[in-house]
């Protein structure tokens, strides 16, 4: 029975895990690699998950930890270009600019320190309460909110005061 609950829950979480991975990773191939590694780690460690506790927080924590563990290997080649281009496209909200707009969001996110990026994604995209996000990251709630605040301010500047 526990098996069914676990696997059904995992399947239901897949789209959200993919969305979180897309925000963390550098590109969509890396994002799906991260997602796959998370699923495999979860399947192997499944006896560590207690039935009745939240599977989503547990899965997000695994993904976040794998991402942090491999962070040293990542490069930030996009960073150099982000400021300049973000400056060029301030306020562009027209339909033909939509693609550029999406790229801007990605690039602005890439310029954030890791701990600010995950705070922004968990609260603003994944919709977690501050306390839940802090638990996933494994930090005090005050630390989480200050990372969120700094990350959000940096993004608003980069994205031209939110266009």
């Amino acid at each position: 029975m526990q098996n069914d609950v676990f696997l059904t829950g995992l399947t239901a979480l897949l789209p959200r895990l993919r969305r979180f991975a897309a925000g963390l990773a550098r590109n969509s191939a890396d994002a799906d690699d991260l997602c796959q590694a998370t699923i495999e780690r979860a399947l192997v460690s499944r006896q560590q998950w207690q039935d009745g506790t939240r599977l989503d927080s547990w899965m997000y924590r695994i993904m976040r930890n794998i991402w942090i563990d491999t962070a040293r290997g990542r490069t930030r080649h996009d960073k150099t270009f982000a400021d300049e281009e973000a400056g060029m496209h301030v306020g562009s909200m027209g339909a033909q600019e939509a693609q550029v707009e999406l790229t801007m969001v990605d690039r602005a996110l890439q310029t954030l320190p890791d701990e600010q990026r995950e705070a922004v994604l968990l609260v603003l995209v994944e919709g977690y309460k501050y306390a839940e996000a802090a638990e996933i990251v494994g930090c005090p709630i005050g630390t989480l909110t200050s990372r969120l605040l700094r990350g959000r301010e940096a993004l608003m500047v980069k994205l031209g005061e939110a266009a």
């Binding site: 969305r19 890396d30 460690s45 560590q48 794998i66």
Partner: protein, 232 residues
Amino acid sequence: MTISPELLAAYADGELDELTAARVQRAIADNPQLARDLAPLTELRNMLVARFDPILAEPMPERLSAPIQDAAKVVSLDVARQARQPLWQRPQFRFGAGAAIAASLMVAVLVGGRGGTPQGYADTQLTAALDETLSGQTARDGTRLLISFHAANGAMCRGYAAQAASGIACHDDRGWKLKVIGGSAAKQATQYRQAGNNDAAIMAAVQDMAIGPALDANAELAARNDGWNTKP
């Protein structure tokens, strides 16, 4: 009422209790500057949501859904207690993926006794990891412990994944005897993928050896306190 940036952000994120939220709402109504400060907070959330929410509707890549579908067959020790067939006759080893897993495992012991440990047994460092570290955790030397279970002869066995080699070791009165040794993490895959491949191979081998369910966290703790001599 003075509204700090933190308080305004918490209001935008729906984090405030009713009373405080109502106070902030009144302050915003009285102060146009606060309303102007609030707008970008909402805008940013909208931009992020517009960027990432469409991913929810995308078709799921098979490489993400398939491992979960296979999991009931491959990983669950409770369920897959079907008739024991020789390894090479099992369905999962007649296909490409299974064959690759089989090839990557050498079901023979070839690690010599370094540092005075008996031939075919875990060396001092690995022994420390197997003795002390619980499943799901990583030992000081980087060895990850995957699972604990009982083999047919009643011995406690543990699956582990290390940088140099992954495998299964079973406890007896001479130490941790190495039963199944996988290769070191292959370099052809990306960083994220290496761990997963080896883990899956070890788990498949665990399924062949185990006679009952894997130990849960409590049972494992008890087994560790018992010096890994617990019988099934």
